[in-house]
């Protein structure tokens, strides 16, 4: 068992899970989405990117790329949240929420790709 694989696998799968946890629910329903989950997903994603820095293998490069895509989209979603949030406080309206959730769904795809690569690489190496 390789500690690096355990740690990286943990962060990649946790990132995917949090991302899904944020996206799950109605697209335009503000009550279904939590800003804390989104923020946590961003942090976990950034950690996963940091862990992949310095890996010179092909799969490492692909994982870094998919991590960057997911991070970029999640941060965009968080910025949109800040912009559409009403000054009086409270959650964004249904239209703004729909934008945020669709961008975060895009990040979910990138996270799924990364997870598939990690699982596939591990299964292929059979050790």
């Amino acid at each position: 068992m390789n500690l690096e694989r355990v740690v990286f696998g943990f962060f990649i799968i946790l990132g995917l899970s949090l991302n899904y946890a944020f996206v799950a629910g109605g697209v335009g329903a503000p009550a279904h989405h939590n800003v804390w989950v989104l923020t946590l997903a961003i942090i976990i994603n950034l950690v996963a990117i940091g862990l992949k820095l310095g890996d010179r293998s092909q799969t490492g490069a692909l994982l870094l790329a998919s991590g960057l895509v997911a991070g970029l989209l999640l941060i965009t979603a968080r910025i949109v949240w800040i912009v559409v949030e009403p000054d009086s406080g409270g959650a964004p309206g249904p239209r703004g929420m729909a934008d945020i959730v669709s961008i975060a769904t895009g990040a979910l795809v990138a996270n799924i790709v990364a997870t598939v690569i990690v699982v596939g690489d591990t299964l292929l190496s059979r050790r």
């Binding site: 390789n2 490492g60 059979r126």
Partner: protein, 578 residues
């Protein structure tokens, strides 16, 4: 003088040939058009109208080519109609004359040859992938082309027989093999075939004429001194000349054949390994043919017979020769010679009853086959080696009761293919031939353990930055890699991939059957034999630095900066605590 290209030649022939017909057309067109413009047309408002020059040209164009649209652009007067009749006949005749000349030009064999040469030269020039120039497309040539095609290697073929080039056109090769009917000994054709092309790897001269082969080799040596030349030669006089040229390998099909025959007799285990390497039909690794010991009968004492006799004597095998044309002086002391054809009587006289084996090695397939029949009747226990001359008689030889059928065109083609594709294999075989049989048997056992029943796959790996980046990087950093580490399976460490390293080539020196802990250097070439998929796994090891480090050290090292740093911290703290 600047050399004229084939394109210049083709254009010039067309122009020179078409000069007269073109002048005839020009003259008829001018007269017709001017005449038409001068003919008074229909009278409009009391004045005759005239056709302008453009309309006259338009009219003449459709008339002379017999398209005939009618009276365009307006109705004609009688004068114009008269002139139209003149135009029609002269125009049509001039066109037929011009077209006929063109037809004759295209039927001219010299012109078609020039055109073929031009097309061929252009095809070769545009080739970007490495190729081999093959001069002579006979039995050996076509077998070699087939072998090259199996290895996805291109060839450019020259043969002086147009029928052979036509035969080439209907072959189903896996890669493009342009061919030209031309005399390969002419430097012009060698240039067209690309001996100076940067992608040209080697030239193989395989025509049936030794003089032509020598000429080709010499021409090619002058045109491109760096080019590797492999030349077929059966005469010792030519061979001596060829050996003085550097970069030329001489291949004597008779000598190769004789060597194979004698190896099959004296070193069956090596013959078995060699046949398995080249993928001969029906060969099972580790199951050599059992050749009995004793005196041998050799039928046929021509060029090949002499070589076989020579090799057999070197192996200490006594030979009795049957040949109607050989002299007693030729065969030397201690060799029985029966100057007759090999029939039942002479075979009995040669002592077929107590002979260990017989080599039916005349240059007539029918004679060899009939010898086999006689032997089968007289002494079925005798080991029969038969020479097959023509590839077309394959079926008859398959049906014949022979222990070993050898075809000299096939053995020569295989030898040349080995020289071109994997020269290390031949070196290994020769190396093993000089050593005790136990070494070969040990190798066969190792190969059988690694490869099993699968057909062999031979490939070589060069430790260069673009072919094995991980390895060169690792070596540059001062790491040491043993040849045994490379073949470990990263998926099931420390098990081995189904392949065996056969040889390492370093700076012109070859190390045969390297030990597992033999250290590698950048620039080495390693020859592997194994199962096809092992090559892909090995490729992964050569390209991925982490996989390589894992198979070399057995430790799955950290990949990212974070874990590399963490490990470094841990190591320093471990050192401090000591």
């Amino acid at each position: 003088m600047t050399p004229t290209s084939d394109l210049d030649r083709v254009t010039m022939i067309v122009l020179r040939y078409m000069r007269r017909p073109l002048f005839a057309l020009l003259f008829v067109y001018s007269v017709g058009i001017i005449g038409m413009a001068l003919m008074p047309g229909r009278v409009v408002d009391g004045e005759a109208t005239y056709m302008n020059l453009f309309h006259a040209f338009y009219f003449f164009t459709y008339t002379a080519t017999t398209t005939g649209f009618g009276e365009l652009p307006g109705g004609f007067s009688d004068e114009q109609r008269l002139w139209t009749i003149f135009c029609l006949y002269t125009g049509v005749i001039a066109w037929f004359y011009a077209l006929g000349s063109l037809m004759r030009l295209f039927q001219n064999p010299h012109f078609t040859q020039a055109l073929e040469e031009y097309r061929f030269a252009r095809r070769v020039e545009r080739t970007r992938e490495p190729f081999i120039v093959l001069c002579g497309f006979g039995d050996t040539g076509s077998l070699l082309a087939r072998g090259l095609s199996d290895h996805r290697s291109r060839a450019v073929i020259l043969d002086s027989d147009p029928e052979r080039i036509k035969a080439l056109g209907v072959r189903d090769y896996a890669v493009a093999m342009p061919g030209l009917h031309a005399d390969a000994s002419k430097p012009k054709h060698l240039l067209a075939a690309g001996v100076e092309h940067p992608a040209c790897r080697a030239l193989v001269a395989l025509t049936n004429d030794d003089d032509v082969n020598l000429k080709i080799a010499v021409m090619a040596r002058h045109l491109n001194p760096r080019l590797r030349v492999i030349c077929r030669s059966t005469s010792s006089r030519h061979e001596a000349t060829l050996r003085t040229l550097d970069n030329v390998t001489v291949v004597d099909p008779f000598e190769i054949f004789a060597q194979l025959v004698c190896r099959a007799i004296a070193r069956p285990e090596l013959h078995n390994l060699n046949s398995w390497f080249v993928g001969a039909r029906g060969v099972e690794l580790g199951v050599p043919v059992q050749v009995p010991r004793g005196d041998w009968i050799l039928c046929g004492y021509g060029r090949m017979g002499r070589w076989i006799h020579h090799h057999m004597q070197a192996q200490g095998i006594r030979v009795r020769i049957i040949d109607p044309e050989a002299d007693t002086g030729d065969v030397g002391e201690g060799t029985t010679l029966i100057p007759a054809h090999a029939d039942r009587e002479t075979l009995e006289a040669a002592g077929i009853d107590d002979a260990a084996g017989i080599v039916a090695g005349t240059d007539h397939d029918s004679e060899n086959l009939s010898t086999l029949l006689s032997v089968a009747e007289l002494n079925p226990e005798t080991f029969c080696i038969v020479r097959q001359n023509s590839h077309e008689n394959q079926v008859a030889f398959d049906a014949a009761r022979a222990d070993l059928v050898l075809q000299h065109s096939l053995t020569a083609a295989r030898r040349i293919l080995k020289l071109l594709i994997s020269p290390l294999v031949q070196e290994l075989i020769d190396w093993l031939a000089e050593r005790e049989p136990a070494r070969t048997e040990a190798l066969v056992d190792r190969l059988r353990a690694a490869v099993g029943e699968a057909p062999p796959h031979l490939w070589s790996v060069r430790l260069l930055p673009d072919e094995a980046p991980a390895v060169t990087e690792y070596l540059d950093r001062g790491g040491a890699i043993a040849v045994g580490a490379l073949r470990l399976d990263a998926r099931a460490f420390p098990e081995k991939l189904p392949c065996e390293p056969l040889a390492v080539r370093r700076a012109g020196q070859s190390i045969m059957l390297p030990d597992a802990d033999h250290l590698l250097e950048a620039g080495d070439e390693i020859l592997f034999c194994g199962i096809q998929w092992a090559e892909h796994m090995l490729q992964a090891t050569l390209h991925n630095p982490y996989t390589l480090r894992y198979v070399v050290t057995g430790v799955d090292g950290p990949r990212g900066y974070v874990f590399t740093w963490l490990q470094g911290e841990r190591e320093t703290s471990a050192q401090r605590s000591h």
